[in-house]
Subunit: 381 residues, 2 copies
C-alpha cells in the first residue's frame, strides 16, 4: 500500500506522455523549454503535467538549464580554521559590517550547548538577520526560488561556500559580512562567482553591494536631538573598524560641529545590548549631566535605556535616546525608541534583484545601490 | 582575461584525469563513490581533485546518488490562497504550535514595506526561529549539508513545498508549524515524503516530531513561584488551540491545584510581547493584588514586566514573573527573566538527525523525541 501511494505520489515522464498522447521526447522538450515545439502541443503537455502532478527532477533540469534556481544566503565572519574555538569565545565582540550585528550570544552561553554553534547563535540573536532573510525570501518566492542558508566564519567554511557555488548548486551568493576583515568577498570575486554584499566591504573589492547613507542617518539623529533642546550630547558608536560604525559616528559629530558642538564624548560598543549598557555606564560616569544620547543601533539604545533607568534618569525627560535600525528591538524597548530607520527588508530584496538581474557573462561590473534613512519618532526622544 | 580567470576557476573532469594520470571514467567512478576502484587509485584521484580544485557538478552528482544533500527547512502556516492579504492583516494573532511563535509583526507594519512579507517578517521577529535555524545548521554543516529556507502559509506555497521535495530538490523537510490548523504535515505524509515536525501536530498525523514536556515545564514554574511564597497567582497562557499552549496551562493549573489553589485566573495571549502586555493589563485590572505570574513564553513575560512597572509594581518584590523558553528575550528583559528553558537548538538538531538517520524505504514509522525542560533562575522570580 505504501508503494502504491508512493507511485501515485511520483508520476513519471511516461505518465505525462500517455496523458498527453505524445512521445516522451516531446514531453522532455516542452519541460526543458526547448523551442520549436508547436504551441498547441506545448499546452497539451502542460495540462498533462498538471493533471498527473508530474514534477520534473530538479537535478536533471539543472543539467539542461545550467541554473540551480537557488541562491546562497551567506553570513560570513573572519575567523581562520584554527580559531574556531577562540572565535566562539571572542564572539560576543564580533563586529558587524552590516550596520547591525552578530554580536550578542543568544540566550547566553547556554544557548549554544555543544559550543560549535556560537556563530550561528550570535547571528540570529540580532533581529537584523531575520529582516535580511525576510527581504530575500519575499523577493525570491514569487520567482520560484529559495535561499540556501550558509555560514562562513572559518576558512574551511569559506572554501565550502566557494565550492558550492562552483558546483552550480546555487546561481550566486548574497553575503552578509559580520566582520571588517572578512576575506569572503575577495574570494568570491577572485573565483569569478556572482555575489552581492549587504553593506560596502571594509576593504576595497570589486563586488556589488547595497548600503545605507549612514552619515545622513546620523545627521537626522543629531538634528532631532538638537531640535528637542538637548545640549549635552554623547554617542555610543558601533565598532569603528566597520564602515557603518565609522560613518554613523562621523555623521553625528559633523552635524553637531556645524552647530558649534566641538566635542562629543563617544563610547565604542559592539552593536549588542550588553555593550550598549557598558558604554552607557562609562558615559554616565564621566558625564553625569548629559541630556541626549545617540546609539548607533537599537540594541545598544535599549541597553542605554536600561542603564539610564537604573541610575534614576527618566527617558526622555532627563536624557533623550535615539537609536538606529528601527528593528523589532525599537518597539520592544520601554520607552519605544525614536530611531533612524534602515529599510533592511527592502535593501535585502535589492541585493537579490541585483544578483538575479545582472547582465549575462562573467564580467558584469560591480554596482552599488544606496538607500536613504528616515527618522522614526517614538517616545524615547 | 576574465575568461582566463574563469577557466582557472572551473577545472574540469579532464583536468583531474590529466593530473591523476587516469581516465575520465575512473575519475568519475571515484567521485561518484562507485566501489571496486583500487584504493591507491582512489587516493591519487582525490589528491588530483584537491590540487586542481575540481568541484563536481552537484546536479550531475545528484542524478547519480539520488540525493540532493539538502534539507528543506519549512515554516508553515494555515492560510489558503485567497487569504494571503487577510492573513497578513490578522498576522499579529497567528498562533504558534511550536511553543514560541510567529506572532509579533517585526518593526510594526513598517517592517514589511510592500505588505507581502508579513508572514516571513513575523516569523523572524521571534527569537525562537533563529534558534531553530541555529540548531539545524549546526547539525547539518559538519555533514556538508545546508538548509533551504521555505515558507508555506498559503495553499499555493504548500504545493510548492511538496513539488520541491518530489522533484528531489531536497532529501526531506524539517517543518515548524505556526498554526494549529496547518495542513502541511498531512500533505507531506500523504505524499510519502520524509519530514519531521517541531512539536506534536495539533491534529493526529502519522509524522515524526520532537517536542518538549510542556506540562513538566509549567510545573517547574508553579513550584518555583510557590517556593518563593507567592500565593495570589495568575497566568498568561499561549493560544489554547495549540498543544503547547494548552499543555503549559494545564501543567501550571494542575500543580497549583495539588497545592490547594483551586482557581487560577488566566488571560490568553498569542506568544507576542504586545499580547503579553494586554493580558497583564486585564489580569491587573481584575486581580490588583496578585503576587506571581507565569507567562507561557518570554516575550509575553517581557510585556508583563513592562506593564507591571508602568503600574508601579516592582518585579520581583511585588510581583514575581516566570517566563518560558529561555530565549534571548529572557536576558534582554529588565529584570532578566527567571524562565523555563526549552532547549530549542538541541531539539532542532534532533529533528535533523531524525530526518537523516531514518531507515531507508518509504515506510519508516513515525517516531517522537521528547525533551525535558529546566528552570533557569534569574532576577524576575
Amino acid at each position: 500500500m505504501t508503494d502504491d501511494r508512493r507511485s501515485a505520489g511520483a508520476p513519471t515522464l511516461e505518465d505525462v506522455a500517455r496523458a498527453a498522447g505524445v512521445s516522451r521526447a516531446t514531453v522532455s522538450r516542452v519541460i526543458n523549454g526547448v523551442r520549436n515545439v508547436d504551441p498547441a502541443i506545448q499546452e497539451v503537455v502542460r495540462q498533462a503535467v498538471s493533471v498527473t502532478g508530474y514534477a520534473p527532477n530538479r537535478a536533471a533540469r539543472s543539467l539542461v538549464t545550467r541554473r540551480a534556481d537557488a541562491v546562497a544566503l551567506v553570513v560570513s565572519g573572519a575567523g581562520v580554521e584554527a580559531d574556531v574555538g577562540a572565535e566562539a569565545e571572542a564572539g560576543v565582540g564580533a563586529e558587524a559590517a552590516a550596520g547591525s550585528g552578530a554580536g550578542r550570544a543568544g540566550g547566553g552561553s547556554r544557548a549554544t550547548a555543544g559550543g560549535g554553534g556560537s556563530f550561528t547563535a550570535q547571528v540570529f540573536a540580532d533581529p537584523f538577520f531575520g529582516r535580511v532573510v525576510t527581504g530575500v525570501v519575499d523577493y525570491l518566492r514569487p520567482r520560484g526560488m529559495h535561499p540556501v542558508l550558509m555560514f562562513a566564519e572559518t576558512s574551511r567554511a569559506r572554501d565550502e561556500v566557494v565550492a558550492y557555488l562552483r558546483q552550480g548548486s546555487a546561481d550566486g551568493a548574497l553575503v552578509v559580512s559580520t566582520h571588517a576583515e572578512d576575506p569572503l568577498p575577495g574570494l568570491l570575486t577572485e573565483a569569478g562567482l556572482a555575489a552581492v554584499l549587504f553593506a560596502r566591504p571594509a576593504r576595497p573589492v570589486p563586488i556589488s553591494y547595497v548600503d545605507l547613507a549612514h552619515q545622513d542617518g546620523a545627521r537626522l539623529a543629531a538634528e532631532h536631538l538638537l531640535a528637542r533642546g538637548c545640549r549635552r550630547l554623547a554617542t555610543i558608536s558601533g565598532p569603528l573598524d566597520v564602515p557603518a560604525g565609522r560613518a554613523r559616528l562621523t555623521g553625528f559629530r559633523d552635524t553637531l560641529a556645524r552647530h558649534g558642538h566641538a566635542y562629543i564624548p563617544v563610547a565604542e560598543g559592539r552593536f549588542t545590548q550588553e555593550s550598549g549598557e557598558a558604554a552607557m555606564e562609562r558615559l554616565l560616569a564621566e558625564h553625569p549631566d548629559l541630556d541626549g544620547v545617540f546609539a548607533a543601533n537599537d540594541l545598544m539604545a535599549t541597553g542605554a535605556c536600561h542603564v539610564l533607568r537604573e541610575h534614576g534618569r527618566r527617558v526622555p525627560e532627563d536624557v533623550a535616546v535615539v537609536g538606529f535600525d528601527d528593528s523589532s528591538a525599537a518597539l520592544a524597548c520601554r520607552p519605544p525608541l525614536t530611531t533612524v530607520r534602515q529599510p533592511v527588508e527592502a535593501m535585502a530584496a535589492e541585493m537579490a534583484r541585483l544578483l538575479l538581474d545582472r547582465p549575462p557573462g562573467p564580467s558584469s561590473p560591480a554596482t552599488s545601490v544606496i538607500f536613504e534613512p528616515e527618522l522614526v519618532v517614538r517616545a524615547s526622544a
